[in-house]
């Protein structure tokens, strides 16, 4: 890894208490358990935090957000959202959360450093009931999402390798 390697924050967000709402956090947990990364890559469970994430967001060059994304597709469908599209959406957003992640990104820009941001998302099935488990279609699609996150990390200049299995 060169000295100039971009720092990459892989940020899983969502509420793990509400089924697929927590799929971003679950994806990051899976990455932490099964892979090793070069020092320029940081994994973070962002939970449902909004403005409190500004510290981490402004201190990285690139952010890969992993989150549930509602786009009217089939549960488990994967999406990729890029910087300019996200930025555009801010102007028109009527979210019920005024302090959520997109808003926090806008704040980062005002603070002076808006990281290069990509969102990798999945269409959720259930984000309302209380459960720690992902629904079946989302659990089934999680490995595919993981592959895309790993590809994204590599494309941004991060190094990834599977963890050696723990000897029995």
């Amino acid at each position: 890894m060169s000295e100039q390697a971009k720092t990459i924050l892989v940020l899983g967000v969502g509420n793990i208490l509400m089924h697929d709402e927590g799929l971003g956090v679950r994806a990051v947990e899976h990455l932490a358990e099964n892979y090793e990364f070069s020092p320029n890559v940081e994994l973070m469970d962002g939970g449902a935090g909004g403005l409190r994430l500004a510290d981490e967001l402004t201190s990285h060059d690139c952010v890969v957000v992993v989150d549930a994304v509602m786009n009217g597709g089939q549960p488990g469908d994967l999406y990729r959202l890029e910087g300019d599209d996200l930025k555009l959406s801010l102007t028109f957003k009527q979210s019920m959360h005024e302090t959520d992640l997109l808003e926090t990104m806008a704040c980062c820009e005002i603070i002076g450093h808006r990281p290069n941001c990509v969102v990798l998302g999945m269409e959720p099935l259930n984000i309302e009931g209380w459960s720690l488990e992902l629904t079946e279609p989302c659990a089934a699609a999680l490995p595919g999402l993981i592959v895309r996150v790993l590809d994204e990390i590599r494309a941004l200049g991060g190094e990834v390798r599977p963890k050696a299995p723990v000897p029995a």
Binding site: K87, L90, F92, I111
Partner: protein, 567 residues
């Protein structure tokens, strides 16, 4: 300076509208809150506060290890994560009997962690969740930056010095946002077209906007303070029943970093936040008579002994019927939750130890059932909780630092203590509380240094899980009295109940039909333009509502223009 102080007593305009106004959802808060008011001749005559989301966290906690509770409850929401973890931790400590044995160092570190949360929450609330109700950002574009700098530098309110160039730069940036249609965080604000209820001159609007932007950056510092002691933020991981596991935070370098961040944060509080409140308040002095309630409750906060509510630095107590001459002691047995107007199975008011969570939704257009919140009551009455309640209790009990600051603010505004019972009083009290807590944090840090110097580095007490037990954890959080209640059976959670600040304040009517505090506070509020009821928002936002749902979804459906690529 001319233009920066009101020449005549401010009066918020009253319209002539009669009819209903619904604000759904209320923006700039966490969670989905719907406020419905009935307006008659431009004033609110009746109000309904309704939570549209069911919060059934209690249900998935049954049967789990009591120590797991803190990790679940703090995930209910993205804003007040740590205070839920603390309430759950205290609840279990109380149930297993370790609460009186928490090591002094552990207590001090916990107080510093919670203190950092207060600094963060109150700064973010004043600037980012509440200021846009009072400050017209667009109007700041027509300010004269030199006049604005002169005002700040000569007003004698304690502001740090500003330069014309600094304020001009803010104005230029702002112009870029507005011209580019990239209003971002200001989108949906009511001042995008001029509104008669906004009273600040362009110069003060510019100064306040500059500080809004400055606070965005500053808030990172107290957030980092929380991460140092809490291990991470959001969702702190350091609390454990018996104390705290912040071994890293008590190392010399880390604790020094915490102290440096504290110093920078307090510089902002004392040289920007306090002077801003003093500068803005005179323009909205009539709000010292709008938005008040009757009864106030505090459970106290920042203990020296975790097992004794009376050891808390900010005192616990209850004020009935605004009688600040006679504060009463706080008695946890007087709490009960009513469900007559809530979407739960009917039943008598229950103390939280006997509390039930049996949801039952019915559509009721006559508002006979209208909220997922229960209605918590104290001694049968509706009590406001939060910074105003805590400040009133402390003031009534002669808490020296609080009395000094309250008296200073009242003198500056030329009003008596009766003005505290209002929306303006609530917003001023939050600032006063920030200073009181912030200053006391210095004493806790000194205390930590002393203990560490003596070689006392015990953060955690040992204990055993009993087969059965019952306990409660009280936190007087930035939003007010928070309590978690547990029954333990077979070493597992048999029942758990959460009574949260926003339920106290934003809950519906009780069994006797008495309005909840926010509902009561809204009655009498002027509404000039029913399509842009900023006056309603002022009072609702002054409670810093957070109704803990934690739903966190990027929803491109709401954006017609928005298109993104499918993998």
């Amino acid at each position: 300076m001319a233009g920066c102080k009101p020449k005549t007593a401010p009066v918020t305009p009253v319209g002539n509208y009669t009819g209903k106004v619904v604000v759904d959802p209320i923006n700039r808060i966490e969670g989905h809150l719907r406020i419905e008011v009935e307006v008659e001749n431009g004033r609110v005559k009746n109000a309904w506060s309704s939570s549209q989301l069911f919060r059934g966290l209690e249900i998935i906690l049954k049967g789990r290890d009591p120590r797991d509770a803190k990790h679940f409850t703090q995930r209910a929401c993205g804003v007040c994560t740590h205070v839920h973890a603390l309430a759950s931790t205290r609840m279990v400590e109380n149930a297993v009997g370790v609460d009186k044995r928490i090591p002094a160092l552990g207590v001090a570190m916990r107080n510093l962690l919670l203190g950092a949360q207060f600094l963060h929450d109150h700064i973010v609330h004043f600037y980012h969740l509440h200021a846009l109700d009072w400050v017209d950002v667009v109007n700041a574009l027509s300010a004269n930056p030199k006049k604005a700098a002169d005002f700040v530098n000569s007003a004698g309110l304690g502001h740090r010095k500003h330069t014309e160039a600094e304020l001009k730069a803010v104005q230029d940036r702002l112009k870029k946002f507005v011209d580019g249609g990239q209003l971002g965080i200001f989108a949906n604000a009511y001042f995008l077209k001029p509104h008669a209820a906004y009273k600040l001159g362009p110069e003060l609007n510019l100064v306040a906007t500059a500080h809004y932007l400055e606070a965005l950056k500053l808030q990172i510092l107290p957030s980092r303070m929380m991460a140092i002691i809490g291990g991470k933020n959001p969702h702190t991981q350091a609390l454990y029943e018996g104390g705290i596991t912040s071994y890293d935070a008590i190392t010399k370098d880390k604790f020094k970093l915490f102290k440096d961040l504290y110093k920078q944060t307090m510089d902002f509080v004392l040289n920007t936040y306090v002077p801003d409140v003093l500068a803005v308040a005179p323009h909205y002095l009539d709000w010292g008579g709008i938005g008040g309630t009757t009864n106030f409750l505090s459970c106290g906060e920042f203990p020296s002994n975790e097992g004794d509510l009376n050891s808390r630095y900010l005192p616990a107590g209850a004020i009935y019927k605004r009688d600040i001459a006679n504060p009463k002691p706080f008695d946890p047995n007087k709490i009960a939750e009513h469900v007559k107007f809530s979407w739960y199975e009917a039943g008598a008011p229950l103390h939280p130890f006997k509390g039930e969570t049996k949801p039952k939704y019915v559509e009721a257009k006559d508002m006979s059932k209208y909220s997922w919140m229960k209605a918590p009551r104290y001694d049968g009455g509706a009590f406001e909780v939060g910074p105003l309640a805590q400040t009133l209790v402390a003031f009534a009990k002669g808490h020296k630092e609080t009395v000094g600051l309250v008296s200073m603010v009242l003198k500056h505004l030329g009003v008596g203590p009766e003005a505290l019972f209002s929306t303006l009083g609530r917003t001023a009290a939050r600032c006063i509380q920030t200073v009181v807590i912030g200053k006391e944090m210095q004493a806790w840090m000194d205390n930590v240094d002393k203990m560490l110097a003596k070689g006392d580095d015990t953060l955690l007490a040992k204990w055993d899980m009993p087969d059965t037990g019952q306990g409660v954890g009280f936190v007087d959080a930035p939003r007010g009295v928070l309590s978690h209640w547990i029954n333990i059976k077979g070493k597992k959670i048999e029942n758990i109940q959460l009574v949260v600040p926003s339920t106290w304040n934003l809950g519906p009517r009780d069994d006797k039909g008495v309005l909840g505090p926010v509902e009561e506070a809204l009655v009498g509020t002027p509404v000039f333009d029913p399509k842009r009821p900023v006056e309603v928002l002022r009072t609702v936002h002054s409670y810093d509502p957070c109704i803990a749902c934690g739903v966190h979804i990027i929803d491109p459906k709401t954006n017609e223009v928005y298109k993104f690529k499918v993998c």
